[in-house]
């Protein structure tokens, strides 16, 4: 017993953690690739770690194996929250070849992800529209996002905006999507008068869904660039700006006018979806990952528009993020995984899966072929919205992704307090900014 006790005490005396063994220098000084890597012809098994409930990754890997029979997959799936919590440990202990990733800053800081710059060069990813890859670029050390080396890739990229129930819209005489924020306000007021629930949204538990309309309002009142700088942790960036204050005040006005469900603070995402599909709610702020689902469940009755600007004719902006996947720094089959990621963006069949199964716009060159979609479907609407956002250069990352903890620990409680009348718009922005600063400094 003494021996065991002594041994465990000795083990406990070393400082915890030692950093990842991967030498940082090796990654950047490796000889540049001369030819595009492939999966070869020998049997090879790729280890994947994917997100439960998003069938797109499985559909793509199955198709890849059909086209490249020597490649088989060993896939493990978890919920996103589990992946978020386990990502650093999994990447350090047992690095997958391909992994669905949460916010990557902390992973890059700890040298857990492979630098994809060489692949980007040899596959020509750097010639794609730069906004597609911007969110996955990190400056050395992982301190600032939006610039620097590429550390992850998307399977497709999502687009957010406002879904609406066409039957209910008819009831209040809304025949075309609102062109300005004032139009949207008018529609909301009419819906309320008609006894409809104007907005279907979730804001319960640890997930403050009011962040969706809030960020959309921010983009209505001001340009998206400063919001992105804040999310990317650029030095000196702040969320507490005059136009964001206007946006938050506008959200408060919606809350006080009773445009959200009375129990919105107890509604989770799944409840919101089921209520909206049942017809409880005219508008819903959400993303195109639900396009396929809504086309099926509300066929012909579902529309989508981008958040309208405060000024008529203003530019449109939207939260838009790639479905991020990365390669472990010490992954065994990194080359094959990179070849897969390139295939996802360029193969016609893969792009079709990206739209049909994933519901979102595929990655890749601007002139790459687009798969046909059913006319009049909401998927067609969201894909068109994607093109409009690219034109207006209005893509934003989600304000919930600024730091690992900002959503659960700051946006969510503050938005829930705003609903309950226990927080002011000004206080909300100041409180989030204070948490942000301490997390950026401490993280």
């Amino acid at each position: 017993m003494v021996v065991i006790l002594g041994g465990s005490l000795a083990a406990a005396c070393a400082a915890p953690g030692s950093g990842n063994a991967q030498p940082t220098a090796a990654a950047s000084s490796a000889p540049a690739l001369s030819a595009a890597p492939t999966c070869g012809t020998e049997p090879i098994t790729l280890k994947g770690y994917f997100e439960t409930g998003f069938p797109i990754a499985r559909a793509l890997t199955d198709e890849f194996t059909k086209q490249h029979p020597n490649v088989t997959w060993d896939i493990r799936e978890d919920q996103f929250a589990v992946i978020t919590q386990n990502a650093p440990r999994v990447l350090a202990d047992d690095p997958p070849d391909l992994m669905r990733l949460p916010q990557v800053s902390e992973l890059v800081k700890n040298n857990l992800l492979k630098n994809l710059d060489d692949y980007a060069k040899v596959f020509g990813w750097d010639k794609w529209p730069p906004s597609q890859l911007e969110q996955m670029r990190l400056a050395p050390g992982g301190a600032v996002r939006g610039e620097g080396s590429l550390y992850a890739m998307g399977l497709n990229f999502s687009m957010t905006g406002v879904f609406y129930n066409k039957k209910l819209a008819e009831q209040i005489g809304m025949t075309t999507p609102p062109e300005t924020l004032a139009d949207l306000d008018a529609a909301l007021a009419k819906a309320k008068e008609a006894g409809l629930a104007p907005i279907a949204q979730f804001n319960g538990g640890a997930t403050g869904g009011l962040a969706f309309p809030l960020q959309d309002l921010m983009a209505s009142y001001g340009p998206p660039a400063p919001i992105n700088e804040w999310i990317y942790q650029k030095p000196g960036a702040t969320i507490d700006t005059p136009s964001n204050l206007q946006a938050t005040q506008h959200l408060e006005k919606w809350i006080k006018s009773g445009y959200f469900w009375k129990d919105v603070n107890a509604v989770d995402y799944a409840t919101m979806m089921s209520r909206f599909i049942k017809g409880d709610g005219l508008f819903m702020f959400n993303g195109d990952w639900e396009s396929g689902n809504l086309d099926k469940q509300m066929a012909g009755n579902i529309g989508f528009f981008l958040m309208p600007p405060a000024q008529a004719g203003g530019k449109r902006a939207a939260m838009s993020a790639p479905l991020t996947f990365g390669i472990g720094a010490n992954a065994k089959n990194a080359d094959c995984a990179a070849a897969f990621l390139n295939w996802v963006a360029t193969d016609t069949q893969a792009r079709t899966i990206g739209v049909e199964v994933g519901g979102s716009h595929p990655m890749g060159p601007a002139d790459a072929p687009m798969p046909p979609v059913a006319a009049g479907s909401v998927t067609e609407n969201t894909l068109a919205a994607g093109a409009r956002i690219a034109e207006d250069n209005g893509a934003m990352d989600f304000i919930a992704n600024a730091t690992g903890a900002i959503y659960a620990k700051s946006w969510t409680p503050n938005l829930q307090k705003l609903v309950a009348g226990e927080q002011t718009p000004d206080g909300l922005l100041k409180s989030v900014q204070a948490d942000y600063q301490s997390q950026v400094k401490g993280g």
Binding site: S8, A15, K109, G204, D263, G404, K417, E422
Partner: protein, 294 residues
């Protein structure tokens, strides 16, 4: 010679203790020691840790959010401990009086059932019952109390009490069963004597039942107070600490700090504070309710 034999016997005793002791050291003492050690560092769980002294502990007591979580845990004691023990006493006394009837068996089963159901299932069931269209609000509406209906778990003023009600429901069965078992040990002659002296049911309860149950009550209070302070599952399933931080408890905060904020040091410091708090609450209860006759 005799002393040597004595010593040998002692060593043999240690040998028997060894397997259990080894497990205890590896799975209890060592993690505890490591938690104390981590609490003195600033560490994200992967990278290099830096020495942080008592900074983490200072933050536990100065950060209003962390301190509020500890206060919430203390408030939960009312629901997790006071309600089940007092209600349990009343129910156990009632069941004992009707012990022979079939109703007693049914009552015992119904009351103990929550203890058998996994906490996660209980949390999900209750979050349906307490939702804005749930059974609780339907009943309130039916009796004309529509004015007070609300999403109980999503309201700032009712979220923590609502979580407390779930806890009380779960722990009531355990307390009732423990107290009932204790009551069956009481010598029936005592009751007979009391009755001959003209004592009514109330007098019997306060003069015989209650004093005889001192140890069982001690166990109930200890177990439920620890459950309140270390609560996690019910809160995690029903409110996740929300809305705002209205129902945040230390157990959940430790989990968030360690696994989403990656502040392993701060999480460990809060865990150590929670451990000390649990011991500080449990020891006096043990001392107050120990058997003084021996």
């Amino acid at each position: 010679m005799k002393a040597a034999a004595q010593r040998r016997r002692n060593w043999a005793g240690w040998l028997f203790v060894l397997p259990a002791a080894a497990f205890y050291v590896v799975f209890v003492i060592q993690p505890l020691a490591m938690t104390v050690q981590y609490s003195l560092y600033s560490w994200d769980g992967i990278g290099v840790a830096t020495w942080n002294g008592v900074q983490n502990y200072l933050r536990v007591f100065t950060d209003p959010d962390l301190f509020a979580a500890i206060l919430n845990a203390l408030k939960l004691i009312v629901f997790f401990s006071a309600v089940p023990v007092m209600l349990g006493l009343a129910i156990a006394a009632t069941i004992r009086r009707i012990a022979a009837s079939r109703l007693a068996l049914v009552a015992r089963t119904v009351i103990f059932l929550p203890q058998v159901i996994p906490l996660v299932a209980a949390g999900i069931t209750w979050s349906w019952l307490l939702s804005s269209t749930g059974l609780v609000n339907q009943l309130l509406t039916a009796v004309g109390l529509e004015g007070i209906t609300r999403a109980w778990l999503g309201d700032f003023s009712t979220a923590l009490p609502a979580v407390g009600v779930i806890g009380a429901w779960v722990l009531l069965g355990l307390c009732t069963l423990l107290l009932l078992a204790g009551m069956s040990k009481i010598d029936p002659a005592l009751y007979e004597a009391a009755r001959l002296d003209g004592a009514g049911p109330l007098r019997e309860f306060f003069s015989i039942t209650l004093p005889s149950l001192r140890q069982e009550i001690g166990v109930c209070v200890t177990v439920t107070v620890v459950a309140a302070l270390a609560s996690f599952d019910i809160v995690y399933i029903s409110t996740q600490g929300g809305p705002g931080n209205a129902s945040m408890v230390p157990g959940l905060e430790i989990y968030y700090l360690a696994f989403s904020e990656r502040e392993v040091g701060l999480a460990s410091a809060l865990a150590v504070v929670l451990t000390v708090l649990v011991i500080a609450c449990a020891l006096p209860i043990q001392w107050l309710t120990r058997d003084r006759s021996s």
